[in-house]
């Protein structure tokens, strides 16, 4: 018994050594801070410290859900992500099909390069780009409006436009990435299928409808499920930096992630901010599990775990 343990240890030691850096990193970066979940159940009093503060039970959550914020940030997060998923998917599939139909490989490479470029830029740069378009008196967009004799719009204080603005920006930034995925998936389709079909003399549209789309359906569904799993999380930079954290836009741009940060920075309300964070983690956790479960049923090799 003892010998076999020693033997095992010797045999597997290198494996554990390989796991060690990652293990330690995740411990420090992810596990230890999870202690912060406690804060969500405390009535924070800094003079007593985190552990010394009184337990508040679920009071922070109760408080959170009593405000209209809880509903608003949940609604915003889900609706925005929904709009992002659909808009990006539709456009990416169209672009991918078009690219797959274009003969010149060089042209395809060029379009692909251009489409993917925004994906490489940081949200800070995107904020600057958005600012040059949307600035009230100097923005390009208002300049165009003025040329057409329309009145200028104060974009950074008009919440009603922001759902569109954010969807457009998100599309601009991520559509290239999805296009590449779908294009790879289309190019992976067996050429014989097309040949067999062309013998039957089908039109281009029929070919797209009856061959391409069914063949890339698994990719579509996998990506859809993955995105649904992440629907409770939002890109902090997109929702915080790009609207320049403008107060007037709060209703339209506040998501769970920005709410958690704002709660901490501008309200100094750590407990409530933590409660929102825990709420996000819990619901997000369930969604990931669900999405993964469905993926597993559907195609097990694409499941995360």
């Amino acid at each position: 018994m003892k010998k076999s343990f020693r033997y095992k240890l010797k045999k597997y030691m290198p494996i554990y050594i390989m796991l060690l850096p990652g293990f330690l990193y995740l411990l420090i970066n992810n596990y230890i801070p999870m202690g912060g979940i406690l804060i969500a159940f405390k009535h924070m009093d800094y003079s007593k410290g985190i552990l010394g503060s009184d337990w508040s039970g679920l009071a922070n959550f109760e408080y959170l859900f009593k405000t209209p914020d809880a509903f608003r940030i949940t609604r915003n997060t889900i609706l925005y992500n929904g709009a992002f998923i659909i808009s990006t998917m539709v456009m990416a599939i169209i672009f991918a099909i078009l690219l797959s139909e274009i003969w010149s490989k060089r042209a395809v490479k060029f379009y692909q390069t251009v489409l993917l470029l925004p994906y490489m830029l940081s949200m800070i740069i995107v904020s600057y780009l958005a600012y040059s378009f949307l600035a009230g008196d100097t923005g390009l967009l208002n300049g165009v409006l003025e040329r057409f004799g329309r009145e200028k719009v104060s974009w950074y204080s008009r919440p009603e436009y922001w759902p569109f603005i954010l969807v457009i920006i998100n599309c601009w930034k991520t559509v290239g990435y999805s296009t590449v995925i779908y294009l790879a998936s289309i190019l992976g389709i067996d050429g014989e299928l097309y040949e067999a079909a062309s013998v039957d003399g089908i039109t281009k549209l029929q070919r797209i409808r009856y061959i391409m789309l069914p063949m890339i359906k698994p990719t579509i569904i996998t990506i859809l499920l993955l995105n649904i799993g992440r629907i409770f999380y939002s890109d902090f930079g997109l929702f915080y930096q790009v609207p320049m954290s403008s107060g007037a836009l709060m209703d339209a741009t506040n998501t769970i992630d920005t709410y958690v940060y704002r709660g901490l920075i501008s309200l100094g309300d750590v407990a409530m901010s933590s409660a929102a964070g825990v709420y996000q983690s819990l619901v997000g956790f369930l969604l990931v599990l669900c999405a993964n479960w469905i993926t597993k049923r559907y195609s097990s090799e694409n499941a995360l775990f």
Binding site: M18, L26, Y128, L129, L140, G143
Partner: protein, 297 residues
């Protein structure tokens, strides 16, 4: 066959994609052209697609401040390089270990990894730990360590690649020849899993290059600013000026020291220049990597 109609299709498709490409590039063109405009023009006439009066005054300002910009560049490059290196090594090692068919505690280590995708502790506890117990505030480590180094997603990508594309027999043969696990990783896994390693390397690298959050939280010393942080701080200063009117009424020197609109755009151009320059060359790997990772999203 119907060659002619196919040709019309080609023209139409290309035309459409050219339009889309232009639409994609317009924001960048505005940014670049405004950095070459006289600042006065922007205040008076606004941003435009083409410089109204061509001027290098913004870049003159940057040249004057070149010490700071160069330092920020150096920091960004150093952080990106070392972060990517560390990230790739720790991810590949973890992934290789998990790709083993069976070893004690395997399940523990894989759940341990996946669990991090689901829960996080939030900013304040993370901040407390890194600043108080690791003392990383205002050190270069603050830009390298927190958050970005390794994530479960990349590890899973590499693990599945190894499982699917590196023949187990090869590894076994190497073991029989007396190679230990580290030699196997170095001599077998790194060459054979090169595509996926290049891919996660790119993912991690771009994340480091574009990161501004670590700087915002852990760095307040301007000697350690990265390019993104300089840009972010300017943005936040503008925000501050437009919001806190009472204090701004007093502190007007900030408005005086804030770089003019064109300068901000010029710094943004300088910040994305390396990406614009390097991108066409790494584009190939990037596309390959995304396609490889496609199944996983």
């Amino acid at each position: 066959m119907h060659y002619r109609s196919e040709k019309i299709y080609q023209v139409f498709f290309n035309l459409f994609m050219i339009l889309i490409s232009i639409a994609t590039l317009v924001p960048l063109i505005v940014l670049i052209s405004s950095s070459f405009t006289q600042n006065k023009d922007i205040t008076l006439y606004g941003y435009s697609l083409w410089p109204r009066t061509f001027s290098l005054e913004a870049y003159g300002y940057i040249w004057k401040e070149r010490m700071q910009i160069f330092r920020a560049y150096f920091i960004t490059i150093f952080v990106t390089a070392s972060g990517t290196l560390l990230g790739v090594i720790s991810s590949v090692l973890y992934a290789y270990a998990l790709s083993k068919r069976e070893f004690p505690l395997k399940r523990f280590f894989s759940v341990y990894l996946l669990f991090t995708m689901l829960f996080n502790g939030g900013l304040v506890p993370t901040y407390i730990m890194y600043t108080r117990y690791f003392g990383i505030k205002n050190t270069i480590f603050a830009l390298i360590i927190p958050g970005l180094l390794m994530n479960a997603f990349n590890v899973i990508l590499v693990r599945s690649y190894i499982q699917n594309n590196v023949p187990q027999a090869l590894i076994e043969a190497a073991t029989i020849d007396g190679a230990n696990e580290f030699i196997i990783v170095r001599k077998l896994i790194f060459p054979l899993a090169k595509p996926i390693i290049a891919t996660i390397g790119l993912f991690i690298g771009v994340a480091y290059w574009n990161d501004w959050q670590n700087g915002l939280y852990y760095v307040t010393d301007d000697k350690l600013y990265s390019i993104q942080q300089i840009l972010n701080n300017m943005l936040k200063n503008i925000e501050y000026l437009s919001k806190n009117t009472t204090s701004v009424a007093k502190s007007t020197t900030l408005a005086g020291t804030l770089p003019a609109g064109t300068v901000r755009m010029a710094i943004a151009v300088v910040g994305m220049l390396p990406i614009l320059v390097i991108y066409p060359f790494i584009q190939k790997y990037f596309v390959k990597g995304i396609s490889l990772g496609a199944v996983k999203g």
